[in-house]
Symmetry: C2
């Protein structure tokens, strides 16, 4: 093992970002190795990864699965791999003493504590977990500044911003411009948003993603979350973060500096690129990824419509309020999107549920990860109640 | 005067870049002052600038003009301003002991020696003189590396590249992409290039510039010169510098890194911006220049056509050959464009003259500025001869 070998802990190893991270590690096996893995409920994939990568530690969600995994590993002659489970197991994976870099890619609030503990130990983070910045951004970035650890965003927009920011100093930034595909309904009139079906909403023009993030892209809530993430990651007020719709999603994002210069980043839409960037920063290393610049033909842009897409407005309001409001925003959105996917509420009910939850959530400061989880839980209950009252109110009407 | 005040020498002060530089100095009079000015034949403008800026030294092209200027300054009570003339005067302006920064914006080979002498004294350069890089780039950049002085490009394309390069290290660059407006004839079929009139060729779609640079834009020779400049400024082989036609000229240029990321720069098309960037680098300071990102609508791109625009191909060939060839390219182009503007040769004769001069110029290394001037002079004579033979050959045919 070379001295410059970087040993990686991956939280969410069987998910999409986790698998892409392992592909990058595979392509650059002279530079990266896997030290520890945290998976969820897909224990077959976890076993396969453990056999392929022989990490020192692996964790899965449930105790039963952990026992099963342990037996399988013993049968394969890999009994020296430590098998853990649950939130405590994820924390152990993130804080493994030999981990030089932590890829935080567990979806949902499950990734919060482990990421925070890794930051506290001064481990650099490659961040793909949205909740870390949306819900707990104030807490995690404060700790990262204290520990002087870099948080390198692994998603195309913030990764692009991170790259463009190299063109100047933070105090020289006028604005960050996040590009948005605009989703499948960017041309849909407001009056036609109500009858949108789950099938229509799941048909995203550019990226193939999970169901929740696809709906969040259709409502522009995903872009709203990204606004909050940008505010937290780069320590900017919401007034310095703007959204522009760019249907081709070629330009991943832009930074405008105080002198009037704007830098934009683009590349192939392949998550291995921001992962590689995060893993090698401040270096860049050769990859086989090539955007065919010569084949560029047309790029289109338009301003976002916050009237038709109120989720984006709600996200700006939540980040302006700060504290617990973004936690409630995220939790309410998760419940509202699930209710939409189950056919309980309409597409345009999603922002209604969220707005009601935000109004019902008393503004206060955030002080700890446990408080984040508590507010998250309360906001979910509130959102569930709103959904139930909507189903109750509309059902008789639909029966007529 | 504050300690951080930067004292500027301007070569070519009455030209377009010189005047824009003075506008920037005026807007930021707390940061910049004028120490010395070199003008040309416009002695009225030089007098006005001397009165407004009270430099310690001013130089004009001709001795007679210098005497006139001296008398006028005496009448105005500004007899302490030292008045010089000719190439030696320009060198004195560039090498003024109190100059902290030299803006090199004299058009043509006249700026070469003065810029080179300033570099030798370790003075940072803001470079708007094309010939410094096209004709004498190998010599001047070698000296700049030796003296560790920055050469900051003051033209929208190379300034954009300089900004994008901040996103990585030089050894991490895969390609530099220079954007080109494509000129007024980017849709003109090859067969219709011959009868193009001077008037048509002077009608540039984006920038208002001098006559030669406007014709050079129409033939794409200007982009060819920029390819050579990029090779010299950033020490890159021609294979790493590409041109892409982008009629809106919104994106000023791009840099592709080895990992597959591409950074692009854009801004309002106002020369004050690259000047301000050069004067303040590595800082950026607030300006009133704002590109309306929200008004972005469409950007178009297409590959350049080197068959219809052979000047671009000739520039690539000249920089690949190196040494004296780019000197000959620049000199031959100046003569050919002048002949076209005077109605002596056709639009598509311009590359013919240049190609013949390049073939007739024996490849050899460049070792000194005086050698540059000698090769330049020889190439001009060669080009004049080619033009004469064309006029002679075609005249009887046209008379039929």
């Amino acid at each position: 093992m070379s001295l410059s070998m970087k040993r990686i802990a991956i939280l969410g190893s069987t998910g999409s970002i986790g698998c892409s991270t392992l592909k990058v590690v595979e392509s650059y096996s002279d530079r990266f190795s896997v030290i520890s893995l945290a998976a969820g409920k897909n224990v077959d994939a976890a076993l396969e990864q453990a056999i392929r990568w022989e990490p020192k530690m692996i964790s899965v969600a449930d105790e039963k699965d952990a026992e099963k995994l342990q037996r399988s590993l013993k049968d394969t002659g890999l009994s020296e791999i430590q098998v853990l489970h649950g939130p405590a197991g994820t924390v152990k994976v993130a804080t493994h003493p030999e981990a030089d870099f932590v890829v935080s890619a567990i979806v949902g609030v499950a990734g919060l504590e482990a990421t925070y503990e890794a930051v506290k130990l001064g481990k650099p983070i490659g961040l793909a977990n949205k909740e870390c910045m949306v819900a707990a951004g104030e807490i995690i970035t404060a700790e990262a500044r204290k520990q002087k650890v870099p948080i390198l965003p692994i998603d195309s927009e913030h990764n692009a911003v991170h790259q463009c920011l190299r063109g100047g100093r933070m105090e020289e930034v006028r604005k960050v411009w996040l590009t948005a595909s605009g989703g499948p309904f960017r041309h849909t009139p407001k009056s036609q948003l109500s009858p949108i079906t789950v099938e229509q909403a799941l048909n995203h023009p550019t990226w193939r993603m999970g169901k929740r993030i696809t709906i969040d892209s259709a409502t522009l809530m995903n872009k709203g979350f990204e606004v909050i993430e940008a505010c937290r990651l780069f320590n900017l007020p919401p007034s310095q973060v703007e959204v522009i719709v760019h249907p081709q999603s070629t330009i991943h994002s832009m930074v405008e500096f105080v002198d009037g210069s704007i830098l934009a980043q683009f590349s192939v839409t392949d998550m291995r690129l921001p992962i590689l960037y995060a893993l090698t920063y401040p270096e860049r290393i050769e990859s086989d990824m090539r955007f065919p610049v010569m084949d560029l033909r047309h790029l289109d842009f338009q301003p976002p419509d916050m009237e038709r897409f109120p989720c984006l407005r709600l996200a700006y309001e939540a980040v302006k309020a700060g504290g617990v409001q973004p936690v409630a925003l995220n939790a309410a959105d998760e419940i509202a999107v699930a209710a939409f996917l189950e056919g309980q509420i309409g597409f345009d009910d999603i922002p209604r549920v969220i707005e009601q939850v935000l109004s019902a959530t008393k503004s206060r400061d955030l002080t700890s990860i446990s408080q984040v989880l508590e507010v998250d839980s309360q906001a979910r209950s509130l959102a569930q109640n709103k959904v139930r009252s909507m189903v109750h109110n509309t059902a008789p009407v639909r029966a007529v």
